[in-house]
Symmetry: C2
Subunit: 419 residues, 2 copies
């Protein structure tokens, strides 16, 4: 019998009415002939309540106890969803992580899947169960303790089950109706995409389009799980939402599929750094140790040769989240005091934002960067840093121009029109 | 190393401050050299919230899912308590029912213990853990589903652990400071007892002194677990509260230890019943099937021999909770219609209450009943039904005299004075 995985996030199961609404969506798929594995999050707000209790109880808390407490929210939703389905006449039962079992590593609070044996759930399907409701976000360690995958981990649970059970598709029900060419709050012409490739989704997700957790998309890409993002709060059918899939399923791609942005960026420049082998490692090693998420890196070869600098010198520029600037400064100053690096000045610009154009089509179509730069130049937007990858071009610009840039690029790449 | 079991009920762990307060009491015992098993209830109100969700979701709910949902409240408290103890420097960890494992029957919602293997917890004690915090009220079935013991089951969990681990004592922390000679709200002279025998506590508990769940006292009596009831909200030491123990530990007993009452009683009389063998079974069989909790039964041999009654006749009187009267009437009327019993009239008196004097001392001291009847007669209180057992005498009286009767009996047996 064909199998679907359906995942409902916290806002989709926020109260009993919404659980009933989600159950209706499950019933529709059962009526179509599917066996269904439903992955549920905690009711909206419950996880935060539990996390607050833990944090108020203990300052440096034992992550094993954190997981034991916080995982209870999903258990409640799983039981209620199973009850609701039963009330509608559908054979269903709930599964907590240890009952499946969802075997994970012992990295409490950030556990990773080890295995999801199918036997227990398959046996129940064979006995006539139509829906297995699984508590998301949790698993069990080799020591028999409850683990959690970290916030947002229910998306990853859903993809892992879809992979383990060979599901036809993994439908992620959420509070948006799909993936857009860009953020509709910033650009009114933003258009919902019918399909998007895993690689594009990864770039859009990690760049701030918070529809799907990055890890879930990576897992889906690795196991070729067809993911669909769609709304819990609208009538949906088999064509609703956005399908995130292998690029082979996407017949024809534009050069650019979407425009991502990240508002809270900072740019840090180390002025007059000695340009010698190992200097990048000397700079970014301490930053990594300090937990700074360095994103773009640009090294400007400089011909300046000031007094006191015997060899060639350079300026080194990188970007990081704005709330990590102090940490980054301290790490670099400490490294300078230890004599590991030398620089004349450290210049911080906290008034920048990142805008990226993303598309697998740019692999085969040239001129994307040039078209991007021209669109920004036409609006008199100055580009501070450029970084490119195979399927994206990112720029740092003044934050005040961010919305204008997104709109201009959306127009320039004609994203309001279907391919 | 000596071991204590300490149990904290819902009001004792109602919020983080109270959990911290309970943790202080645990620390005191650890400092005295004990290993401790702490049994916790859900934070007050949480279980009701979960039960309401289940009942709103499903009318005839699947008890297995009910248990999966409702048990989550205790899991949260167990984790928070373990965290709080760790924060105080005490090696502690939480245990959910399936982790111990607490093996129970599959009678979901009313499961009974099958076994509590010590291995897992003992191993952790050997490794240096000082406190095992166990979620009360739950277990795991042979099928691997979560079970619950029914409301109030955390007391029973505590006693079962005390028995399984050979604990020196099982301390039940609650919102009262011990067991009293009678209800202090009714009789201002009520005095806290230092010790009470299991049998007495059973009579007091089942008669309405709701300090301990009956089943937990039965279990404690069977395994000779010394139970102590004491307050979470007061400073307590090794002499606080009331010890519920084997009667051999009680050096000297008064004839009467306490006075119990039950306000919501009803008296039902079947008038002119044929007095023949099997008549009691014919009456009380249908009542039992209808789930009526019949308490006192009195059969008045009557010499009346009315027209239409060939043999001897009798009146049969029994008492039951007032909210079961309609059920009882229907069961009896149905039995009459089926021709299984015959009676002239069914008279219901819903204005009665039960008052009982309880004491293991009455086994060896005579005259208790006479002294009781005289005290009631002195207050002009009419006795409607009398029932006696080895360690108690109960009477049904008009409800309006109940408080007066309790006070009069408390004085008559000098319960305000220590033995």
């Amino acid at each position: 019998m064909p199998l679907l995985v359906m995942k409902f996030g916290g806002t989709s199961v926020a109260d009993l009415d919404r659980i009933a609404n989600a159950a209706e969506k499950v019933k529709r798929e059962v009526d179509r002939g599917y066996n269904v594995i439903v992955i549920v999050s905690a009711m909206a707000g419950k996880t935060n309540e539990l996390v607050n209790w833990v944090e108020q109880t203990s300052h440096l808390y034992d992550a094993r106890e954190y997981d034991a407490v916080v995982s209870s929210g999903e258990n409640v939703t799983a039981g209620l969803m199973a009850l609701r389905l039963q009330e509608m006449g559908i054979p269903a039962r709930s599964w907590q992580g240890w009952q499946v079992p969802i075997n994970t590593t012992s990295a409490h609070g950030a556990a990773r899947f080890v295995s999801i044996p199918r036997d227990n759930i398959d046996r129940k399907f064979e006995e006539g169960m139509k829906v297995a409701v699984v508590a998301g976000f949790q698993g069990v360690s080799p020591e028999g303790r409850i683990t959690t995958l970290g916030r947002g981990g229910s998306d990853t649970t859903a993809v892992a089950f879809a992979a383990a059970f060979g599901a036809e598709r993994c439908d992620i029900y959420t509070d948006v109706d799909g993936v857009y060419t860009t953020d509709p709050r910033i650009c009114s012409k933003a258009r919902k995409l019918d399909k998007i490739a895993f690689e594009e989704m990864l770039e859009l997700a990690s760049l701030g389009a918070k529809v799907l957790q990055t890890r879930s998309v990576e897992l889906a890409m690795r196991y070729k799980v067809r993911l669909r993002v769609l709304s819990s709060f609208e009538d949906t059918d088999e064509n609703s939402g956005t399908l995130v899939c292998d690029e082979e399923e996407i017949m024809e791609s534009k050069a650019v599929s979407g425009i991502a942005y990240s508002r809270d960026e900072a740019k840090i420049t180390l002025v007059t750094v000695e340009d010698k082998p190992g200097i990048a490692a000397a700079i970014f090693g301490p930053l990594a140790e300090a937990g700074v998420n360095v994103d773009m890196i640009v090294q400007n070869i400089s011909e300046k040769n000031y007094e006191g600098h015997s060899g060639a010198v350079t300026d080194m520029t990188f970007s990081c989240p704005i709330n990590q600037v102090e940490r980054a400064k301290k790490a670099l100053q400490d490294a300078r005091e230890r004599g590991e690096i030398a620089y004349d000045d450290l210049v911080v610009d906290t008034e920048v934002a990142k805008v990226s154009v993303v598309g697998i089509g740019m692999r085969s179509q040239s001129g994307v960067a040039a078209r991007m730069f021209k669109a920004l130049a036409d609006e008199n937007i100055n580009i501070k840093v450029i970084a490119t990858s195979e399927i994206k071009v990112s720029v740092l610009i003044d934050r005040k121009y961010m919305e204008l840039a997104v709109q201009a690029l959306h127009d320039a790449f004609e994203l309001d029109k279907t391919a």
